[in-house]
Amino acid sequence: MKYLTLATTLLTSLTFALDGQIGIHDPSTVVQCDGKYYSYGTGGGGLVSSDGWSWTRGTALPRRGLAPDVIHIGDRYYVYVAANIGAQPKAAINMIWSKSLDPASPDYKWQEGGVVASSDGVEDSNAIDPGVFLDPNTRRLWLVYGSYFGFIREVELDPRTGKRINPNDKPRDLAINCEASDLMFHDGWYYLLATHGSCCRGADSGYNIRVGRSRNVTGPFLDADGTNMIQGGGKLFIGSESRKIGPGHFGLLDLGNGVQKFSIHWEADLDRGGASVLDIRPLLWKDGWPVAGENMTDGTFEVESVHTGTALEFAVEGVPVGGRRPRPLRPPGVPRPDGPPTASAGIGAPPNGFGGMFAGTGSPIPPQDVAQVSKNWPAGTGGLRLANYLSQVQQKWTITAVPNAGGYPGSPYFKITIAGTDRALAASADTELVIVPSFTNAPEQLWRFDQLADGTWRITPKSLSGTRTPMALSAIGSSFPTLEPFDASQEKQHWLLKAQ
């Protein structure tokens, strides 16, 4: 218990890996069933979460084995799980299926589906680590499998039964010297992701996930340098980071509407005593290749609209940093010049050369003191708007994870406050935005940050009275934000977070 408390404290204060009981090795793709998220790992143990952020131990699968994978097709959940049937690499992958993953559901009844792939212990294959993929273009179902001994192989399954279409078909070789493979499709390309490096050595594990792509689901899969994965190629997708070591077992979690995430396990999370843990991260795309995105972390930011280039600010009259600079005086009767002021027109400008109003103060200008500036701000609820970013205090937002407020796949909910104050961004009942005088933990003051495919952010309130439609922060005008139904194709709903 002491360990758990310490781990939780570290978790919330240092990083935002998932919360709760997230110990797992070789996790399956995370799938949703009746509003909950499920993943199964080696040994059959499962994890379950009602929000994708806080996880608990789930019910184990009836068939235990190595590195299961799961897919939802129609009214069935197919689980593929491998087992050694002798000394490695003699192995077989079995399929089981159920209409529900929820043990409380009357539909939770597992059926045996039989062996869909195997290796005889001599051939160049080790039939474990299944990854199952439903081609969105053809609705054909594919299974990739394999682990270091020989090749990653591919066979076709029947999406109506989950079974092998033709057990006599020869498996196709796709890659070598890797394991935990999986397929996905994006923008005309099929991607084969596979885990390279060594596993199961805690913080000494060299696990890393690499990727190749092909125009055909059957390959060949080439990396960015053109090297075929069957010759050891693979572009790095994600490797060890900071205090998390050895990512492996990629699984796509497509939340729809342009929001994609992926699941992995870390071989060793140093903040959790080196345990192997589940993680969920945003999936980004750059130049036709998948990129591992980042979950939101605490910090102080400028929140800038990609669409307008203007920044979120509390709707109060700003004070220039360093104070207002007097403009050049015009003698009585002399009209205002049409063009911008020139250096030589500045107050105190030397007769020739640089100086005057463009010369600055000669010393660093300190940041504004929000306590000082905010004395002139209205006390009650105020408005929100967008403006050119000028490093003023009403434009700086501290984003902080809120403990025990729930979350979403990969992250907890956050509060958004004006830096140095408790004034908080809130969604109003009329589906607009306001700044309330203090944060109260109300659902409309809790915010979700999802990194989108282009690396920008979607910002959505946890809930909004009067509507069940998910709403996102939107730059409706250059100077005004609002909340609108999210559409990933709308640039006005993409935001940049620039650390201050």
């Binding site: 009259e317 009209p335 205002r336 010049p337 049409d338 589906t431 409706i476 005008g477 609002t482």
Partner: protein
């Protein structure tokens, strides 16, 4: 090709000479030239184009004003300049007294998406800098509409009212950007709806543009625009 280029260079030189030969300063209009983008309305009503911009307004000759900060503009536009300042629906040629001056309302149609207040004032021989313009128009909608937004841009600061409710304020020394200021969702009643704006300009060019966006953020076009007194 060489001949064409020579003609172009000659034309450019003539233009530049003519430009710099203009007497006086453009920001205080001493010459009265026709407003190249504005015309007197010749039809009882006007409909917006596919982009929804409101192109018919009645504009009051400018009033002196100086500051563009939010606090100053709010104070400036809330001063009591003339009776019915926030309620009157002026017509072309109507006059109001502001301090010692008698100012006239002028109905205009604009050829462009925006209303060029510089052209407006300059053509009347009025100042274009450090001034406040009032403009009013009426849109007539066939049925009640919910969740629409007024979307405006202005050079420079401006404050906007729809049916006497203040809905937008944008401040500072800024250029006109389409859909710069956008109101919260609002309702338009069936029949006439009055839009009123006060634009404060510091120096140089000055103009504004306005349209409504529907609940899907698409330009609203199914209405007519009139100016002048209405039976309400």
């Amino acid at each position: 090709m060489k001949t064409l280029r020579r003609h172009y260079l000659i034309a450019k030189a003539v233009f530049l000479v003519a430009l710099f030969a203009l007497p006086g300063n453009l920001s205080v209009a001493s010459a009265q030239l026709p407003p190249t983008t504005l015309t007197k309305p010749s039809t009882p009503e006007r409909t917006p184009g596919p982009d929804g911009f409101i192109q018919r307004w009645v504009i009051l000759e400018p009033i002196a004003a100086t500051e563009l900060t939010e606090r100053a503009v709010q104070a400036e536009v809330k001063k009591n300049y003339f009776p019915g300042q926030f309620t009157m629906i002026p017509h072309d040629g109507e006059k109001v007294t502001v301090g010692p001056d008698e100012l006239t309302w002028h109905a205009v149609d604009t050829r462009n998406y925006n209303v060029n207040l510089y052209h407006f004032a300059h053509a009347l021989g009025k100042p274009t800098s450090d001034v406040l313009f009032w403009a009013v128009t009426t849109i007539n909608v066939m049925h009640e509409m919910h969740g629409v937004r007024l979307a405006i841009g202005s050079n420079a600061a401006s404050v906007w009212w729809v049916n006497e409710q203040e809905v937008i304020g944008i401040y500072g020394d800024r250029g006109t950007v389409i859909d710069d200021g956008v109101s919260r969702r609002l309702d338009l009643k069936k029949g006439p709806n009055v839009i009123r704006v006060a634009v404060v300009n510091g120096g140089g060019a000055t103009d504004f543009c306005a349209r409504f966006l529907d609940a899907q953020d698409k330009p609203l076009t199914g209405f007519t625009v009139t100016v002048g007194k209405l039976d309400r």
